[in-house]
């Protein structure tokens, strides 16, 4: 069935179709419609779940972890300040191997108060051990929630499904709502190997000395390394059932591209328009949208970058005192390997300033005029 829905509701439908059993959430603009619709679904029994209306995001994640360790499929959603408040418990989720799935609406961090999009909220959680999916359409949001549960529960690693504030969260698009029976066939019920139950008592997460802690983290990393292959495998299975692809990356005209944009989120869709325009002008441009940022898809990035003459990474985020965060990571993935092209980094769209096809064409012009990248960040659209 096709419906015209907003990105936030795509998250809600994804959680509903995944048969989330416990939802614990706290409202924050621009996430509120996610939980409003889920409350309605729970109240009307469209979704058989318990909705815990907590008093903060910290408690939202704490309750989610409790429910997950009890063996229930658990969903929550937040944004920006709320995500930051959860920070401590994000570590708890991954360290505890609790496969909670969370929607995060990318919103710029205060101060000054902003409700508009950029990626510094979720990228600040880069090292918490969560899988991070960055989406660029409402369909992708819905589909990714379902896939995220499958991947997370298989490897016991939590997932964040991320979408841009307003550009996606409040934008209405046509979305194919999958049939429940198809989703059930794709996503089996959650059945963790260990859980909180009096019939098999264990003490979870107690004092862990230097004897054991290191190995627990080693195992988390080893399982993280399995995520890319599992995303591709479950993506192919998804395609067989639903006819839509879900992968690590979205390649647009990359095969013969000499000039490659590396993008993420909705800007990764805008880039396609610029690629079309540039192609009309005779430039062999391509767009490589990174859908999964953690774990970092090294093989995909290296494989595609080595075919290009120049790479321009476009960041809607900034690590103060360094560069755009995707830029740093792409460069580090290519560093020291033969035959890699120069990588140019651009920062744009912070705090929700629009990123237009014209900005991408500007980036192309700037990068084309140089053989090697500057030390200085490539600022696009900033008033100086």
């Amino acid at each position: 069935m096709k419906k015209v829905i907003m990105g936030n509701h795509a998250l809600s439908y994804g959680a509903m179709l995944s048969r989330a059993q416990v939802i614990a959430a706290y409202p924050i603009t621009p996430q509120t419609q996610v939980v409003e619709l889920l409350s309605e679904m729970c109240a009307s029994k469209t979704l058989d779940a318990k909705f815990i209306k907590v008093e903060s995001e910290h408690s939202a994640m704490a309750a989610s972890l409790g429910a997950s360790l009890a063996g229930a499929r658990t969903f929550t959603a937040t944004s920006a300040q709320g995500l930051a408040l959860m920070h401590e418990l994000l570590h708890w989720a991954s360290g505890g191997r609790l496969p909670v799935v969370m929607g995060n609406i990318n919103r710029a961090m205060a101060p000054g108060w902003s409700i508009w999009t950029d990626q510094n909220d979720s990228l600040s959680q880069r090292d918490t051990g969560w899988i991070q999916f960055y989406c660029s359409s409402n369909q992708e949001v819905l589909d990714t929630v379902i896939q995220a549960f499958k991947v997370s529960e298989k490897l016991l690693i939590p997932s964040m499904v991320i979408l841009d504030a307003f550009a996606l969260s409040h934008t209405y698009e046509i979305v194919e709502i999958p049939e429940q029976k198809d989703v059930d066939a794709y996503l089996p019920p959650f059945n963790p190997p260990y859980r909180l139950t009096p019939s098999d008592p264990h003490a979870f997460f107690g004092l862990t000395g230097p004897e054991h802690y290191f190995e627990l983290r080693y195992k988390l990393q080893k399982d993280m390394e399995k995520v890319p292959a599992l995303i591709e495998e479950t993506g192919r299975e998804f395609e067989r059932i639903f006819g839509r692809t879900l992968g690590l990356v979205d390649e647009y005209m990359c095969d013969d591209a000499k000039f490659l944009f590396i993008t993420s989120g909705t800007a990764g869709y805008t880039a396609r328009v610029a690629v079309d325009d540039l192609r009309r002008e005779g430039v062999k441009a391509g767009n490589f949208r990174m859908k999964v940022f953690r774990p970092f898809p090294f093989d995909k990035v290296r494989g595609i970058a080595q075919k290009a003459k120049k790479v321009a990474v476009v960041d809607r985020n900034l690590s103060y005192g360094h560069h755009g965060i995707f830029y740093q990571e792409v460069k580090s993935a290519l560093y020291g390997r033969d035959g890699m092209p120069p990588v140019f980094g651009y920062v744009t769209g912070l705090g929700g300033r629009d990123i237009t096809p014209g900005d991408f064409k500007e980036i192309y012009r700037l990068a084309s005029s140089k053989n090697t990248p500057d030390e200085e960040i490539g600022w696009i659209g900033v008033k100086r």
């Binding site: 429910a67 009890a70 401590e88």
Partner: protein, 298 residues
């Protein structure tokens, strides 16, 4: 033939807490756990935030409890427990008691928001605060449960704590939860009865258990039960229940309340106090006792 004498136990014999735990000598918090688990039985899940009990239980992969434990974040005992309860119900277990087990720091201070949230929602959890009146696990720093006059490492004798203990049962009563009780490790039958009563009530239950700490109070380990008893007999820590936020009942009535001097002088943490300070403490205890008795009448 002599008739065999049988001993009648006032508490169940089964122990759900093993002796190989890591508590200090004379720890009141271990007695509290032992008695509460006797009342709740095996169908219990415990959520323990950062507190002495996070250590007492024993290091990974060991545990001194025979019931499952979620060692959770410091400020998150109540919200974690609420999530566990919801999760258990969704997987078909509606019987298990979910127990949040926190110290006074995790309850009066950093965990108060989550506790208030759970209580306002009336989540079906049992919350126990075992109160040793300071951050003992980190080495005796004052909490908002530390009483007036006490020395701690952050309230040195030259600047001892000059504010009274936070009225946590009053705060919980304001949430109108179905059941609140104070209890003491010196009165195991009363404690057991209250935990059992709480177990059979749906909604948020709050038990505030007085648990002396010889390491932090600078008292003798063998005086733990004596101190807990004196705290009740002096009305420093009276034993009472509050039902539905309104109905107060005093469980251990005091005809002749003992002077607090008897209680105070057994503890090094009060050694620096002058008579005037103790008189101030006595006046505060008297005022609160009078108020509690008034609450029982109304």
């Amino acid at each position: 033939m002599k008739k065999e004498r049988t001993m009648k136990l006032s508490l169940p014999e089964e122990e759900l807490m093993s002796p190989g735990h890591l508590a200090c000598q004379g720890c009141g918090a271990t007695l509290a756990m032992r008695y509460v688990l006797k009342a709740l039985g095996r169908k219990t899940v415990v959520c323990i935030p950062a507190c002495c009990w996070a250590v007492i239980d024993g290091p990974f992969p060991q545990s001194s409890l025979s019931v499952p434990i979620f060692h959770c974040a410091f400020e998150a005992a109540a919200s974690t427990a609420a999530g566990v309860k919801a999760g258990l119900e969704m997987v078909g277990d509606t019987e298990t008691t979910v127990l949040a087990w926190a110290g006074d720091g995790g309850t009066f201070d950093i965990g108060l928001q989550a506790l208030s949230g759970a209580a306002e929602r009336n989540d079906d959890i049992m919350y126990v605060c075992y109160d040793n009146e300071a951050y003992m696990n980190t080495g005796i720093q004052r909490s908002s449960a530390t009483p007036y006059g006490a020395w701690t490492t952050t309230t040195p004798v030259k600047h001892f704590k000059n504010r009274p203990k936070k009225d946590i049962s009053g705060i919980m009563a304001a949430h109108r939860i179905p059941y609140i009780a104070t209890a003491s490790v010196a009165f195991p039958e009363d404690l057991f009865k209250k935990a059992q009563k709480a177990k059979n009530i749906r909604g948020t239950k709050f038990l505030h258990i007085f648990a002396p700490c010889p390491s932090g109070w600078k008292s003798r380990p063998e005086d733990t039960v004596k101190l807990a008893r004196l705290a009740v007999q002096t009305a420093v820590f009276p034993l009472f229940e509050i039902e539905d936020g309104e109905k107060y009942t005093i469980n251990i009535k005091l005809k002749d309340k003992k002077p607090i001097n008897d209680y105070v002088r057994l503890q090094g943490r009060f050694r620096h106090l002058k008579e005037a300070d103790i008189a101030h403490m006595q006046a505060e205890v008297d005022r609160k006792w009078e108020k509690l008795n008034k609450n029982c009448l109304s």
